[in-house]
């Protein structure tokens, strides 16, 4: 398993035993997360952050940038960005408020965003982003036209500076709290699909494919 040497800002200093630097584990968290939070510095020097969708190919994270279009000029010019993904696996109930926590997996990526301009690469990103929404979907959905490719901005960040933090297990509490008359334990959480809602304009006789009816996240 290849490992990523932490830099001063990706080294997990708070609870360092939770730091994870193996690439394969970071990849798995990035793949399972449905969306990311993308941060950058605005023209005024203040922070900006938005939700957007991402997908990973090898050690590159692609981020759909059109949703940040008003400031994307700055991002496209190679300004630094931070990308955070978070998956909450459960709630950790301790007897004290102080020791309450979550079981979670997060990845933070720092890097310089570069716009995807190569047409072939851009078309490939459409496939992986579509599969990031619903694994298997790209083969069914119509691929983008030249006009659509021109209307869409993706930026990419290489996973050169990133770290994961993984918190799991039961609360650890001081002995005096173990005697309290308070329930303690883990409440697992997961994201589950409901019943697919067909488009009102759907042609009669078109049934939901298996990747919709039996939807699950990669790795979940």
């Amino acid at each position: 398993m290849s490992s990523q040497a932490p830099t001063p800002r990706t080294r997990v200093r708070r609870l360092p035993e939770l730091g994870v630097y193996e690439r394969e584990r970071m990849h798995a968290i990035l793949d399972e997360a449905l969306y990311c939070h993308l941060a950058w510095v605005g023209d005024d020097g203040d922070p900006r952050i938005i939700p957007t969708i991402h997908a990973r190919v090898g050690d590159t994270v692609y981020v759909h940038g059109s949703s940040a279009s008003s400031t994307l000029r700055a991002i496209k010019q190679g300004l630094p960005v931070a990308i955070a993904v978070t998956i909450v696996d459960g709630i950790r109930f301790a007897r004290s408020m102080f020791e309450h926590s979550m079981n979670y997996r997060t990845v933070i990526v720092y890097g310089h965003a570069e716009e995807v301009t190569d047409r072939e690469e851009l078309a490939g990103v459409f496939d992986v982003i579509t599969d990031q929404v619903a694994p298997g979907r790209s083969a069914d959905a119509r691929r983008p036209t030249d006009v659509e490719l021109k209307q869409t901005t993706f930026v990419k960040v290489t996973l050169d500076e990133c770290s994961a933090k993984v918190s799991e297990g039961f609360p650890e509490e001081p002995d005096e709290d173990l005697a309290l008359d308070v329930w303690a334990g883990i409440l697992p959480l997961r994201t589950v699909p409901g019943e697919p809602i067909p488009d009102p304009l759907l042609r009669a006789g078109t049934s939901a494919p298996g990747y919709v009816a039996d939807y699950r996240r990669p790795g979940a």
């Binding site: 408020m97 119509r142 959480l189």
Partner: protein, 221 residues
Amino acid sequence: MSTAPSERTTVHRLPERADHDPATIHAVLDEALTCTVSWVDADGEPRALPTIQARIDDTLYLHGSRGARAWKAAAAGTELCVVATVVDELVLARSQFHHSMNYRSVVLFGRARELTDLDELHAGARAITNHVLPGRELDAREPDDAEWRQTLILAMPIDEASAKVRTGPPGDDERDLSLDVWAGTLPLRTVVGPAVPAPDLRASIDLPSYIPPSGEELPRP
């Protein structure tokens, strides 16, 4: 709170999705289990950190560790930008181009102050515990003096915020409607699994009623 957008809370991209209604903004901040806090570091670069939040009226409470550098900067009054996101449905269009999500997100700008008043600290701690799961704040032991010294709770006014909301079916082009591709939305929910008691839980303690049965949605404040 103000409902008029500032320059930076004006939604420029797809402005029809913008929502400055406080009720919408409050609901997203309550419903999202976590948020991500961003700030600009001393080196001028953006930083981001996921954390847990809670809301009382027009104040957002953020919980951090006193030792963490992120929270030192935040407590010192560094300009923050906080985002919270709830994904309601996946939007599967006939074209890859029109794939999307039905989501509700809030972006909040401002500075935070550290809570130092003991009453406010207690209220903040209860609000954060309530945000995790309503009802729990009545059960768990409140922090003692030593724990308060290690805990950092920040308060941020919710007065420069905007929500962005997408709802409804895919927005396919007319020419794609005849394609032989299923299209629609897929709702997503966060549900709880079976509660797992701590190995050191005393045998006489039953599962509290505020913890829902397996398969039910996680209750929100």
